[in-house]
């Protein structure tokens, strides 16, 4: 028997999303309770092995193009139907109870916090170029961001970061799963050779725009 199949069977019947740690404990408990040899084999399986198997399982489901997928939300695994099939599921179980969608400024501010955390309000405003007081209030109230500490700069301003609920709300396994995480954490912006002003001609079409200086 394969570990991934066992995990699949467990998650198929699970009432709640389960973390790799939950699954490891369950494997140990199954080995203890059962007299059959197979559970004993998997008694000492590690969380790393479990996570690896689950990731493989998720990829396999993906490749098979199933209508459901195995997803990791805030570190806990569960099966869920794909968004494409929502109309039918909604007819079956009704709409999900969700708070209203976030506004554009809220999403932008949240994106900045998510990728650059921990950071201060001033740093957020520097990127957005506009005050974020109202938006921050909303994000804090909705539990998507929280104070994480204080920056070691004059005035020791609060720093902010995203919460566990943030991951749940967007269906993310961890912050590593944020789209284009590597790129956005620290954006290296290359200065092009020429910057255009009124008295200059645009460069030839063929030349790609962001040409870093040699």
């Amino acid at each position: 028997m394969e570990l991934k199949s066992i995990l699949e069977a467990i998650l198929f019947s699970a009432q709640h999303p389960l973390t790799a740690k939950d699954l490891r404990e369950l494997m140990a408990s199954a080995a203890e309770k059962s007299e059959e040899p197979a559970p004993k084999e998997f008694r000492k399986v590690s969380t790393d092995q479990i996570t690896e198997s689950l990731e493989q399982l998720a990829r396999e489901n993906e490749q098979l193009g199933r209508s459901y997928h195995l997803m990791c939300v805030a570190g806990a695994w569960q099966f869920a139907s794909r968004p494409d099939y929502a109309p039918w599921i909604k007819a079956l179980v009704g709409h999900k109870v969700r708070p209203p969608r976030l506004s554009q400024p809220a999403l932008e501010t949240l994106a900045i916090i998510a990728y650059r955390q921990p950071l201060t309000r001033a740093e957020i405003e520097q990127i957005r170029g506009v005050a974020v007081d109202g938006v921050m209030q909303t994000l804090l109230e909705r539990g998507l961001v929280e104070q994480t500490g204080r920056a070691e700069v004059p005035g020791r301003p609060n720093t902010y970061g995203t919460t566990q609920y943030f991951l749940e709300y967007f269906g993310l396994g961890s912050l590593e799963d944020l789209p284009a995480a590597d790129e956005l954490r620290r954006i290296p912006i290359q200065k092009p050779e020429i910057l255009l002003t009124a008295d200059q001609e645009a460069p030839a079409e063929t030349e790609p725009a962001p040409q870093p200086p040699a």
Partner: protein, 266 residues
């Protein structure tokens, strides 16, 4: 100033407006002509002012920056101001473009977050109903034979033989098997599984113990209850037969007729 504010829907800040203007020009941020952009920006500010929209201070700061960039361009390159002591002073144009590029990336990231938000709204996790069957009484392994039961009741009876030495029974037989059946069923409804000894904890005489025991045997015979043992010669437990998955009922052995061997299903 804060009590009434018309929110400009599309442009949340000056960077939004600049990106919007750049997009309208259909040029790359790096290729944008900042002096043209400055003119357009100021035109928009003017329109906003005419519409009596609240213009955030940031817009005015941006307008000033753009004006500075524009005025700087009016001078020949060799006469442009270089702030003292800073040879490598950031080109204000570059500073603005850098900020725009960075902001644009986060704007795109926000759009992706929005996609995730919508996808999550339409993602329905599988939530199976809780299975009807109760957890397997995994602790009950060896079956209980009639001899186990007799031996257990013998231990209980010892309590009374020791007492009987200097105490006399003064009660008439006032317990019937059918009454005891009722009370066992009632006890089990309150708490299950029940320890064998708990059945007799309130017994006041040998007779009562015997009657209770007969009631127990009757219930086992009727397959209403089962007797279970965690380990061989361990404490016997009594449970309702319905509490077990039917297939597991064979583990608790009906006392009558006593089976030759304790039956275990695995």
């Amino acid at each position: 100033m804060t009590d009434y504010k018309v929110k400009f829907e599309v442009f949340e800040g000056p960077l939004d407006l600049l990106l919007y203007l750049i997009k309208k020009e259909e040029v790359d941020i790096y290729e944008v002509n900042l002096t043209q952009l400055a003119t357009q920006f100021l035109e928009h500010i003017e329109v906003m002012r005419m519409l009596d929209l609240e213009i955030a201070g940031e817009f005015l700061v941006m307008a000033a920056t753009l004006m500075y960039i524009k005025s700087r361009e009016l001078l020949p390159r060799d006469q442009q101001v270089q702030p003292e002591g800073e040879d490598n002073e950031e080109d204000p144009r570059w500073e603005l473009i850098r900020q725009l590029v960075e902001y644009k990336k986060f704007k795109d990231a926000a759009a992706r977050l929005q996609q995730l938000e919508i996808a999550q709204e339409n993602t329905f996790p599988r939530v199976p109903g809780k299975p009807e069957f109760p957890e397997e009484p995994s602790t009950a392994k060896p079956g209980v034979s009639l001899f186990d039961l007799v031996s257990a009741v013998g231990n209980i009876l010892k309590r009374f033989t020791e007492k009987a030495e200097d105490e006399r029974e003064i009660f008439q037989d006032r317990w019937t098997v059918s009454e005891k059946i009722e009370s066992i069923v009632k006890l089990l409804a309150e708490k299950a599984p029940l320890k064998f000894s708990e059945l007799f904890s309130e017994a006041s005489s040998r007779t009562e113990v015997v009657v209770t025991f007969l009631a127990l045997l009757e219930l086992i015979r009727l397959k209403q209850i089962v007797a279970l043992q965690q380990e061989e010669f361990g404490e016997i437990e009594i449970a309702k037969a319905t509490e077990l998955a039917r297939g597991e009922a064979g583990r608790g052995v009906p006392a009558e007729p006593p089976p030759p061997e304790p039956i275990t299903t695995n």
